[in-house]
Symmetry: C2
Subunit: 251 residues, 2 copies
Protein backbone atom coordinates (compact mmCIF):
# COMPACT_ATOMS: atom_id res chain seq x y z
CA UNK A 1 0.00 0.00 0.00
CA UNK A 2 2.81 2.39 0.88
CA UNK A 3 4.39 1.58 -2.45
CA UNK A 4 1.15 2.31 -4.29
CA UNK A 5 0.87 5.72 -2.68
CA UNK A 6 4.48 6.55 -3.42
CA UNK A 7 3.99 5.58 -7.06
CA UNK A 8 1.14 8.06 -7.42
CA UNK A 9 3.13 10.79 -5.68
CA UNK A 10 2.32 12.66 -2.51
CA UNK A 11 -0.81 14.39 -3.81
CA UNK A 12 -3.52 14.94 -1.24
CA UNK A 13 -7.19 15.68 -1.81
CA UNK A 14 -9.16 18.27 0.13
CA UNK A 15 -12.64 19.71 -0.25
CA UNK A 16 -13.71 23.30 0.31
CA UNK A 17 -17.06 25.03 -0.02
CA UNK A 18 -18.00 28.55 -1.05
CA UNK A 19 -21.38 29.09 0.57
CA UNK A 20 -23.23 32.20 -0.52
CA UNK A 21 -25.96 34.00 1.34
CA UNK A 22 -27.47 37.49 1.12
CA UNK A 23 -27.43 40.09 3.83
CA UNK A 24 -28.92 43.55 4.03
CA UNK A 25 -28.07 45.77 6.94
CA UNK A 26 -30.31 48.57 8.16
CA UNK A 27 -30.06 51.56 5.88
CA UNK A 28 -28.69 49.58 2.91
CA UNK A 29 -30.90 49.66 -0.17
CA UNK A 30 -29.41 46.55 -1.81
CA UNK A 31 -28.45 43.20 -0.34
CA UNK A 32 -24.83 42.05 -0.34
CA UNK A 33 -23.54 38.61 -1.27
CA UNK A 34 -21.78 37.23 1.81
CA UNK A 35 -19.76 34.08 2.57
CA UNK A 36 -18.58 32.51 5.84
CA UNK A 37 -14.84 32.13 6.35
CA UNK A 38 -12.88 30.28 9.00
CA UNK A 39 -9.75 31.69 10.63
CA UNK A 40 -6.88 29.24 10.38
CA UNK A 41 -5.35 28.24 13.69
CA UNK A 42 -2.24 26.56 12.30
CA UNK A 43 0.30 26.74 9.51
CA UNK A 44 0.29 27.20 6.62
CA UNK A 45 -1.37 30.61 6.59
CA UNK A 46 -2.01 30.62 10.35
CA UNK A 47 -4.30 33.53 11.26
CA UNK A 48 -5.57 34.04 7.73
CA UNK A 49 -9.19 33.54 6.76
CA UNK A 50 -9.98 30.53 4.58
CA UNK A 51 -12.92 28.74 3.03
CA UNK A 52 -14.60 26.06 5.16
CA UNK A 53 -13.17 22.67 4.21
CA UNK A 54 -11.05 19.71 5.14
CA UNK A 55 -9.46 16.50 3.95
CA UNK A 56 -11.34 13.96 1.91
CA UNK A 57 -11.78 10.69 3.77
CA UNK A 58 -10.82 7.63 1.72
CA UNK A 59 -14.26 6.10 2.35
CA UNK A 60 -16.32 9.25 1.87
CA UNK A 61 -18.12 10.58 -1.22
CA UNK A 62 -16.90 13.99 -2.39
CA UNK A 63 -20.21 15.76 -1.80
CA UNK A 64 -20.55 14.21 1.64
CA UNK A 65 -17.07 15.46 2.50
CA UNK A 66 -18.10 18.96 1.44
CA UNK A 67 -21.23 18.82 3.63
CA UNK A 68 -19.40 17.29 6.58
CA UNK A 69 -16.50 19.75 6.63
CA UNK A 70 -18.90 22.65 6.18
CA UNK A 71 -20.97 21.46 9.14
CA UNK A 72 -17.92 20.77 11.30
CA UNK A 73 -16.31 24.15 10.70
CA UNK A 74 -19.34 26.45 10.48
CA UNK A 75 -22.41 24.52 11.72
CA UNK A 76 -24.13 25.32 8.43
CA UNK A 77 -26.13 23.04 6.09
CA UNK A 78 -26.90 24.51 2.66
CA UNK A 79 -30.05 24.10 0.57
CA UNK A 80 -28.04 23.67 -2.60
CA UNK A 81 -24.60 22.17 -3.19
CA UNK A 82 -22.82 21.78 -6.51
CA UNK A 83 -19.29 21.00 -7.56
CA UNK A 84 -17.53 24.13 -8.77
CA UNK A 85 -14.06 23.15 -9.93
CA UNK A 86 -10.96 21.19 -8.95
CA UNK A 87 -8.20 23.60 -7.99
CA UNK A 88 -4.82 21.94 -8.18
CA UNK A 89 -2.09 24.45 -9.02
CA UNK A 90 1.28 23.11 -7.91
CA UNK A 91 2.05 26.26 -5.92
CA UNK A 92 -1.32 26.77 -4.24
CA UNK A 93 -0.11 25.14 -1.02
CA UNK A 94 3.32 24.29 0.46
CA UNK A 95 2.50 20.61 -0.11
CA UNK A 96 0.63 19.35 -3.16
CA UNK A 97 -3.08 19.55 -2.48
CA UNK A 98 -5.86 19.23 -5.06
CA UNK A 99 -8.96 20.86 -3.63
CA UNK A 100 -12.36 19.84 -4.98
CA UNK A 101 -14.43 22.93 -4.43
CA UNK A 102 -18.20 22.96 -4.00
CA UNK A 103 -20.46 25.96 -3.96
CA UNK A 104 -23.69 26.32 -2.11
CA UNK A 105 -26.52 28.73 -1.39
CA UNK A 106 -28.16 29.39 1.94
CA UNK A 107 -31.16 31.63 2.60
CA UNK A 108 -30.44 34.34 5.15
CA UNK A 109 -33.31 33.21 7.39
CA UNK A 110 -31.81 29.68 7.34
CA UNK A 111 -28.44 31.13 8.29
CA UNK A 112 -30.08 32.87 11.27
CA UNK A 113 -31.95 29.69 12.28
CA UNK A 114 -28.86 27.48 11.99
CA UNK A 115 -26.68 29.91 13.92
CA UNK A 116 -29.35 30.13 16.63
CA UNK A 117 -29.60 26.33 16.79
CA UNK A 118 -25.84 26.04 17.19
CA UNK A 119 -25.87 28.63 19.98
CA UNK A 120 -28.79 26.90 21.74
CA UNK A 121 -26.89 23.62 21.77
CA UNK A 122 -23.80 25.37 23.13
CA UNK A 123 -22.00 24.44 19.93
CA UNK A 124 -21.26 27.82 18.38
CA UNK A 125 -18.42 27.34 15.91
CA UNK A 126 -15.32 29.33 16.70
CA UNK A 127 -13.31 31.46 14.33
CA UNK A 128 -16.14 31.88 11.82
CA UNK A 129 -17.16 35.24 10.38
CA UNK A 130 -19.20 36.38 7.39
CA UNK A 131 -17.55 38.55 4.75
CA UNK A 132 -18.66 40.51 1.72
CA UNK A 133 -17.78 38.19 -1.15
CA UNK A 134 -16.90 41.18 -3.31
CA UNK A 135 -14.37 42.72 -0.91
CA UNK A 136 -12.31 40.11 0.88
CA UNK A 137 -9.01 40.44 2.71
CA UNK A 138 -6.10 38.32 1.40
CA UNK A 139 -7.16 34.75 2.14
CA UNK A 140 -5.15 31.58 2.69
CA UNK A 141 -4.00 29.52 -0.30
CA UNK A 142 -5.69 30.46 -3.62
CA UNK A 143 -9.01 31.07 -1.89
CA UNK A 144 -9.41 34.62 -3.25
CA UNK A 145 -9.20 33.18 -6.76
CA UNK A 146 -11.67 30.44 -5.85
CA UNK A 147 -14.22 32.92 -4.49
CA UNK A 148 -13.83 35.12 -7.59
CA UNK A 149 -14.54 32.12 -9.80
CA UNK A 150 -17.52 31.04 -7.69
CA UNK A 151 -18.96 34.57 -7.88
CA UNK A 152 -18.52 34.53 -11.65
CA UNK A 153 -20.33 31.19 -11.84
CA UNK A 154 -23.14 32.44 -9.59
CA UNK A 155 -23.65 35.55 -11.73
CA UNK A 156 -23.68 33.53 -14.93
CA UNK A 157 -25.92 30.85 -13.55
CA UNK A 158 -28.54 33.20 -12.19
CA UNK A 159 -29.21 34.27 -15.76
CA UNK A 160 -30.17 30.92 -17.17
CA UNK A 161 -31.39 28.77 -14.31
CA UNK A 162 -33.56 28.81 -11.24
CA UNK A 163 -30.54 29.21 -9.00
CA UNK A 164 -32.00 32.27 -7.25
CA UNK A 165 -34.56 29.97 -5.66
CA UNK A 166 -31.83 28.66 -3.37
CA UNK A 167 -31.80 32.08 -1.72
CA UNK A 168 -35.58 32.55 -1.45
CA UNK A 169 -38.31 31.16 0.83
CA UNK A 170 -40.97 28.92 -0.71
CA UNK A 171 -43.29 31.84 -1.42
CA UNK A 172 -41.96 35.23 -2.44
CA UNK A 173 -42.92 38.41 -4.23
CA UNK A 174 -41.49 39.53 -7.54
CA UNK A 175 -39.71 42.28 -5.62
CA UNK A 176 -38.05 39.63 -3.42
CA UNK A 177 -36.89 37.79 -6.52
CA UNK A 178 -35.64 40.95 -8.17
CA UNK A 179 -33.66 41.85 -5.05
CA UNK A 180 -31.87 38.49 -5.17
CA UNK A 181 -30.88 39.16 -8.78
CA UNK A 182 -29.81 42.69 -7.90
CA UNK A 183 -27.63 41.47 -5.05
CA UNK A 184 -25.97 38.78 -7.19
CA UNK A 185 -25.50 40.98 -10.24
CA UNK A 186 -24.53 43.98 -8.11
CA UNK A 187 -26.78 46.43 -9.97
CA UNK A 188 -30.33 47.75 -10.00
CA UNK A 189 -32.86 46.17 -12.38
CA UNK A 190 -35.89 47.92 -13.82
CA UNK A 191 -38.96 46.49 -12.00
CA UNK A 192 -41.25 46.62 -15.06
CA UNK A 193 -38.70 44.95 -17.35
CA UNK A 194 -37.96 42.36 -14.72
CA UNK A 195 -41.64 41.52 -14.35
CA UNK A 196 -42.01 41.12 -18.12
CA UNK A 197 -39.04 38.76 -18.31
CA UNK A 198 -40.34 36.64 -15.45
CA UNK A 199 -43.85 36.55 -16.92
CA UNK A 200 -42.51 35.32 -20.27
CA UNK A 201 -40.81 32.33 -18.62
CA UNK A 202 -42.78 29.46 -17.10
CA UNK A 203 -40.66 29.00 -14.01
CA UNK A 204 -42.95 30.87 -11.60
CA UNK A 205 -46.44 29.93 -10.44
CA UNK A 206 -48.64 32.65 -8.89
CA UNK A 207 -50.29 31.69 -5.60
CA UNK A 208 -53.56 33.17 -4.32
CA UNK A 209 -51.77 34.71 -1.36
CA UNK A 210 -50.56 38.28 -0.98
CA UNK A 211 -48.06 39.99 1.26
CA UNK A 212 -49.51 43.04 2.92
CA UNK A 213 -47.72 45.79 4.71
CA UNK A 214 -46.87 49.41 4.23
CA UNK A 215 -47.07 49.07 0.44
CA UNK A 216 -49.95 47.83 -1.68
CA UNK A 217 -50.47 44.06 -1.38
CA UNK A 218 -47.96 42.06 -3.45
CA UNK A 219 -48.80 38.66 -4.87
CA UNK A 220 -46.74 35.74 -3.64
CA UNK A 221 -45.24 33.34 -6.17
CA UNK A 222 -43.60 29.96 -5.93
CA UNK A 223 -41.24 28.18 -8.27
CA UNK A 224 -42.56 25.54 -10.62
CA UNK A 225 -41.21 22.39 -9.03
CA UNK A 226 -41.40 20.51 -12.31
CA UNK A 227 -38.36 22.49 -13.40
CA UNK A 228 -34.97 21.46 -12.02
CA UNK A 229 -33.31 23.89 -9.62
CA UNK A 230 -30.36 23.94 -11.96
CA UNK A 231 -29.27 21.78 -14.84
CA UNK A 232 -26.93 19.35 -13.21
CA UNK A 233 -26.74 17.02 -16.18
CA UNK A 234 -27.01 13.26 -16.02
CA UNK A 235 -24.89 13.06 -12.89
CA UNK A 236 -26.64 11.70 -9.88
CA UNK A 237 -24.71 12.79 -6.84
CA UNK A 238 -25.39 11.08 -3.54
CA UNK A 239 -27.34 12.99 -0.93
CA UNK A 240 -25.15 14.32 1.85
CA UNK A 241 -25.19 11.80 4.68
CA UNK A 242 -24.61 12.19 8.36
CA UNK A 243 -21.01 11.57 9.28
CA UNK A 244 -19.34 11.39 12.65
CA UNK A 245 -17.89 14.68 13.84
CA UNK A 246 -14.18 14.92 13.39
CA UNK A 247 -11.61 17.60 13.79
CA UNK A 248 -9.20 17.94 10.93
CA UNK A 249 -6.88 20.56 9.69
CA UNK A 250 -8.13 21.85 6.41
CA UNK A 251 -6.82 23.76 3.44
CA UNK B 1 6.06 12.66 4.92
CA UNK B 2 4.71 9.12 5.16
CA UNK B 3 2.79 10.16 8.23
CA UNK B 4 1.27 13.10 6.38
CA UNK B 5 0.08 10.88 3.54
CA UNK B 6 -1.38 8.33 5.92
CA UNK B 7 -3.28 11.08 7.73
CA UNK B 8 -4.94 12.16 4.52
CA UNK B 9 -5.83 8.59 3.59
CA UNK B 10 -4.90 6.57 0.54
CA UNK B 11 -6.69 8.74 -2.01
CA UNK B 12 -4.96 8.97 -5.38
CA UNK B 13 -5.48 11.56 -8.10
CA UNK B 14 -5.70 10.70 -11.80
CA UNK B 15 -6.58 12.74 -14.87
CA UNK B 16 -8.61 11.58 -17.86
CA UNK B 17 -9.69 13.34 -21.04
CA UNK B 18 -12.78 13.02 -23.19
CA UNK B 19 -11.64 14.25 -26.59
CA UNK B 20 -14.39 14.77 -29.14
CA UNK B 21 -14.03 14.86 -32.89
CA UNK B 22 -16.47 14.49 -35.77
CA UNK B 23 -16.40 11.77 -38.41
CA UNK B 24 -18.54 11.20 -41.46
CA UNK B 25 -18.16 7.97 -43.39
CA UNK B 26 -18.98 7.64 -47.07
CA UNK B 27 -22.73 7.35 -47.51
CA UNK B 28 -23.59 8.96 -44.15
CA UNK B 29 -25.54 12.18 -44.38
CA UNK B 30 -24.70 13.42 -40.88
CA UNK B 31 -21.41 13.43 -38.99
CA UNK B 32 -20.99 11.40 -35.82
CA UNK B 33 -19.37 12.55 -32.58
CA UNK B 34 -16.44 10.22 -31.94
CA UNK B 35 -13.92 9.78 -29.10
CA UNK B 36 -10.66 7.83 -28.87
CA UNK B 37 -10.45 5.10 -26.26
CA UNK B 38 -7.49 3.07 -25.01
CA UNK B 39 -7.69 -0.66 -24.34
CA UNK B 40 -6.47 -1.46 -20.84
CA UNK B 41 -3.61 -3.94 -20.67
CA UNK B 42 -3.74 -4.59 -16.95
CA UNK B 43 -6.11 -4.90 -14.02
CA UNK B 44 -8.47 -3.50 -13.00
CA UNK B 45 -10.70 -3.85 -16.05
CA UNK B 46 -7.99 -5.48 -18.17
CA UNK B 47 -9.16 -5.69 -21.79
CA UNK B 48 -11.85 -3.04 -21.42
CA UNK B 49 -11.77 0.28 -23.25
CA UNK B 50 -11.10 3.36 -21.17
CA UNK B 51 -10.60 7.10 -21.53
CA UNK B 52 -7.04 8.27 -22.16
CA UNK B 53 -5.48 9.31 -18.88
CA UNK B 54 -2.98 8.61 -16.16
CA UNK B 55 -1.74 9.59 -12.72
CA UNK B 56 -1.18 13.18 -11.71
CA UNK B 57 2.47 13.89 -11.02
CA UNK B 58 3.08 15.74 -7.73
CA UNK B 59 4.98 18.47 -9.60
CA UNK B 60 2.66 18.78 -12.58
CA UNK B 61 -0.24 21.17 -13.21
CA UNK B 62 -3.61 19.45 -13.73
CA UNK B 63 -4.07 20.66 -17.31
CA UNK B 64 -0.52 19.67 -18.22
CA UNK B 65 -1.18 16.20 -16.85
CA UNK B 66 -4.27 15.96 -19.06
CA UNK B 67 -2.30 17.01 -22.15
CA UNK B 68 0.64 14.75 -21.33
CA UNK B 69 -1.36 11.60 -20.67
CA UNK B 70 -3.46 12.24 -23.77
CA UNK B 71 -0.31 12.58 -25.86
CA UNK B 72 1.36 9.55 -24.32
CA UNK B 73 -1.60 7.24 -24.79
CA UNK B 74 -3.05 8.48 -28.10
CA UNK B 75 -0.48 10.80 -29.74
CA UNK B 76 -3.16 13.51 -29.91
CA UNK B 77 -2.98 17.21 -29.02
CA UNK B 78 -6.33 19.01 -28.85
CA UNK B 79 -7.17 22.55 -29.92
CA UNK B 80 -9.32 23.09 -26.86
CA UNK B 81 -9.06 21.67 -23.35
CA UNK B 82 -11.29 22.44 -20.41
CA UNK B 83 -11.89 20.90 -17.01
CA UNK B 84 -15.15 18.94 -16.98
CA UNK B 85 -15.65 17.58 -13.47
CA UNK B 86 -13.94 15.74 -10.66
CA UNK B 87 -15.26 12.18 -10.48
CA UNK B 88 -14.60 10.65 -7.10
CA UNK B 89 -17.27 8.09 -6.20
CA UNK B 90 -15.93 5.70 -3.58
CA UNK B 91 -16.84 2.65 -5.66
CA UNK B 92 -15.62 3.85 -9.06
CA UNK B 93 -12.35 1.93 -8.75
CA UNK B 94 -11.11 -0.91 -6.52
CA UNK B 95 -8.83 1.60 -4.79
CA UNK B 96 -9.88 5.18 -4.04
CA UNK B 97 -9.11 7.32 -7.07
CA UNK B 98 -10.39 10.85 -7.70
CA UNK B 99 -10.19 11.51 -11.42
CA UNK B 100 -10.04 15.11 -12.63
CA UNK B 101 -11.61 14.87 -16.08
CA UNK B 102 -10.90 17.28 -18.92
CA UNK B 103 -12.73 17.51 -22.18
CA UNK B 104 -11.33 18.58 -25.48
CA UNK B 105 -12.19 19.12 -29.12
CA UNK B 106 -10.13 18.12 -32.13
CA UNK B 107 -10.91 18.87 -35.77
CA UNK B 108 -11.11 15.75 -37.89
CA UNK B 109 -8.40 17.02 -40.27
CA UNK B 110 -6.14 17.56 -37.24
CA UNK B 111 -6.86 14.02 -36.11
CA UNK B 112 -5.80 12.75 -39.56
CA UNK B 113 -2.65 14.91 -39.56
CA UNK B 114 -1.65 13.89 -36.03
CA UNK B 115 -2.25 10.21 -36.71
CA UNK B 116 -0.20 10.48 -39.92
CA UNK B 117 2.61 12.25 -38.06
CA UNK B 118 2.68 9.52 -35.42
CA UNK B 119 2.82 6.85 -38.12
CA UNK B 120 5.60 8.68 -40.00
CA UNK B 121 7.73 8.76 -36.85
CA UNK B 122 7.09 5.07 -36.25
CA UNK B 123 5.30 6.00 -33.06
CA UNK B 124 1.75 4.83 -33.72
CA UNK B 125 0.04 4.43 -30.35
CA UNK B 126 -1.15 0.92 -29.63
CA UNK B 127 -4.54 -0.14 -28.34
CA UNK B 128 -6.28 3.05 -29.46
CA UNK B 129 -9.53 3.10 -31.40
CA UNK B 130 -12.20 5.69 -32.15
CA UNK B 131 -15.77 5.01 -31.01
CA UNK B 132 -19.15 6.62 -31.53
CA UNK B 133 -19.64 8.63 -28.34
CA UNK B 134 -23.35 7.88 -28.42
CA UNK B 135 -23.03 4.07 -28.58
CA UNK B 136 -20.17 2.79 -26.47
CA UNK B 137 -19.48 -0.67 -25.14
CA UNK B 138 -19.25 -1.08 -21.35
CA UNK B 139 -16.10 0.86 -20.44
CA UNK B 140 -13.71 0.56 -17.51
CA UNK B 141 -14.50 2.32 -14.23
CA UNK B 142 -17.29 4.94 -14.46
CA UNK B 143 -16.15 6.04 -17.90
CA UNK B 144 -19.55 5.50 -19.55
CA UNK B 145 -21.04 7.94 -17.04
CA UNK B 146 -18.18 10.39 -17.66
CA UNK B 147 -18.69 10.32 -21.44
CA UNK B 148 -22.44 10.79 -21.02
CA UNK B 149 -21.82 13.85 -18.86
CA UNK B 150 -19.24 15.24 -21.30
CA UNK B 151 -21.71 14.81 -24.19
CA UNK B 152 -24.37 16.60 -22.18
CA UNK B 153 -21.96 19.46 -21.51
CA UNK B 154 -20.95 19.63 -25.18
CA UNK B 155 -24.58 19.78 -26.30
CA UNK B 156 -25.40 22.48 -23.79
CA UNK B 157 -22.31 24.50 -24.49
CA UNK B 158 -22.71 24.52 -28.25
CA UNK B 159 -25.91 26.47 -27.72
CA UNK B 160 -24.46 29.44 -25.90
CA UNK B 161 -20.79 29.68 -26.84
CA UNK B 162 -18.43 29.48 -29.76
CA UNK B 163 -17.47 25.94 -28.85
CA UNK B 164 -18.21 24.63 -32.37
CA UNK B 165 -15.19 26.58 -33.58
CA UNK B 166 -12.95 23.98 -31.97
CA UNK B 167 -14.21 21.51 -34.57
CA UNK B 168 -13.94 23.79 -37.62
CA UNK B 169 -11.06 25.06 -39.79
CA UNK B 170 -10.27 28.79 -39.71
CA UNK B 171 -12.58 29.50 -42.66
CA UNK B 172 -15.82 27.62 -43.15
CA UNK B 173 -19.20 27.87 -44.79
CA UNK B 174 -22.47 28.20 -42.92
CA UNK B 175 -23.25 24.66 -44.07
CA UNK B 176 -20.02 23.46 -42.41
CA UNK B 177 -21.04 25.19 -39.18
CA UNK B 178 -24.56 23.80 -39.34
CA UNK B 179 -23.21 20.29 -39.82
CA UNK B 180 -21.13 20.60 -36.65
CA UNK B 181 -24.24 21.62 -34.74
CA UNK B 182 -26.24 18.79 -36.31
CA UNK B 183 -23.61 16.23 -35.35
CA UNK B 184 -23.40 17.45 -31.76
CA UNK B 185 -27.15 17.82 -31.29
CA UNK B 186 -27.88 14.63 -33.21
CA UNK B 187 -30.64 16.15 -35.33
CA UNK B 188 -31.21 18.08 -38.54
CA UNK B 189 -31.49 21.87 -38.38
CA UNK B 190 -33.41 23.99 -40.86
CA UNK B 191 -30.79 25.78 -43.03
CA UNK B 192 -32.78 29.03 -43.36
CA UNK B 193 -33.51 29.26 -39.63
CA UNK B 194 -29.92 28.43 -38.83
CA UNK B 195 -28.66 31.20 -41.13
CA UNK B 196 -31.00 33.71 -39.49
CA UNK B 197 -29.80 32.78 -36.01
CA UNK B 198 -26.15 33.07 -37.00
CA UNK B 199 -26.74 36.39 -38.76
CA UNK B 200 -28.38 37.84 -35.67
CA UNK B 201 -25.30 37.07 -33.56
CA UNK B 202 -22.02 38.89 -34.03
CA UNK B 203 -19.74 35.91 -33.65
CA UNK B 204 -19.09 35.34 -37.37
CA UNK B 205 -17.24 37.58 -39.80
CA UNK B 206 -17.81 37.04 -43.54
CA UNK B 207 -14.64 36.81 -45.64
CA UNK B 208 -14.40 37.73 -49.33
CA UNK B 209 -13.59 34.15 -50.25
CA UNK B 210 -15.97 31.49 -51.53
CA UNK B 211 -15.89 27.74 -51.70
CA UNK B 212 -16.68 26.47 -55.16
CA UNK B 213 -17.55 22.96 -56.21
CA UNK B 214 -20.51 21.02 -57.43
CA UNK B 215 -22.93 23.44 -55.69
CA UNK B 216 -23.23 27.18 -56.11
CA UNK B 217 -20.33 29.08 -54.50
CA UNK B 218 -20.67 29.36 -50.71
CA UNK B 219 -19.17 32.25 -48.78
CA UNK B 220 -16.49 31.42 -46.27
CA UNK B 221 -16.75 32.84 -42.75
CA UNK B 222 -14.40 33.06 -39.84
CA UNK B 223 -15.06 33.49 -36.15
CA UNK B 224 -14.73 36.91 -34.56
CA UNK B 225 -11.52 36.48 -32.56
CA UNK B 226 -12.48 39.27 -30.19
CA UNK B 227 -14.97 36.84 -28.67
CA UNK B 228 -13.66 34.16 -26.33
CA UNK B 229 -13.89 30.58 -27.59
CA UNK B 230 -15.86 29.77 -24.48
CA UNK B 231 -16.47 31.53 -21.23
CA UNK B 232 -13.87 30.10 -18.95
CA UNK B 233 -14.34 32.64 -16.21
CA UNK B 234 -11.56 34.45 -14.41
CA UNK B 235 -9.44 31.31 -14.17
CA UNK B 236 -6.18 31.48 -16.00
CA UNK B 237 -5.03 27.96 -16.59
CA UNK B 238 -1.43 27.38 -17.56
CA UNK B 239 -0.71 26.45 -21.14
CA UNK B 240 0.08 22.77 -21.58
CA UNK B 241 3.84 22.38 -21.44
CA UNK B 242 6.13 19.76 -22.85
CA UNK B 243 6.77 17.03 -20.34
CA UNK B 244 9.08 14.08 -20.48
CA UNK B 245 7.51 10.91 -21.86
CA UNK B 246 6.58 8.43 -19.22
CA UNK B 247 4.72 5.19 -19.10
CA UNK B 248 2.14 4.93 -16.39
CA UNK B 249 -0.83 2.81 -15.70
CA UNK B 250 -3.92 4.91 -15.86
CA UNK B 251 -7.47 4.78 -14.69
Amino acid sequence: MTQTIAEAGPVRVAVSTVIFSLRRSAGEDISRVVIPLVRRTRDPFEGRWALPGGWLDATEELENAASRTLRETTGLAPSYLEQLYAFGAVDRSPSRVVSIVYWALLRSDDVDAQVAASAASGDTPENVEWFDAASLPPLAFDHNEIVAYALWRLRNKVGYSRIAHGLLPDAFTLADLREVYEAILGRRLDPANFRRQVDSSDTLIPTDRFRTGSHRPARLYRYNRDVELAERGPLRTPAPSAARPRTRTHD
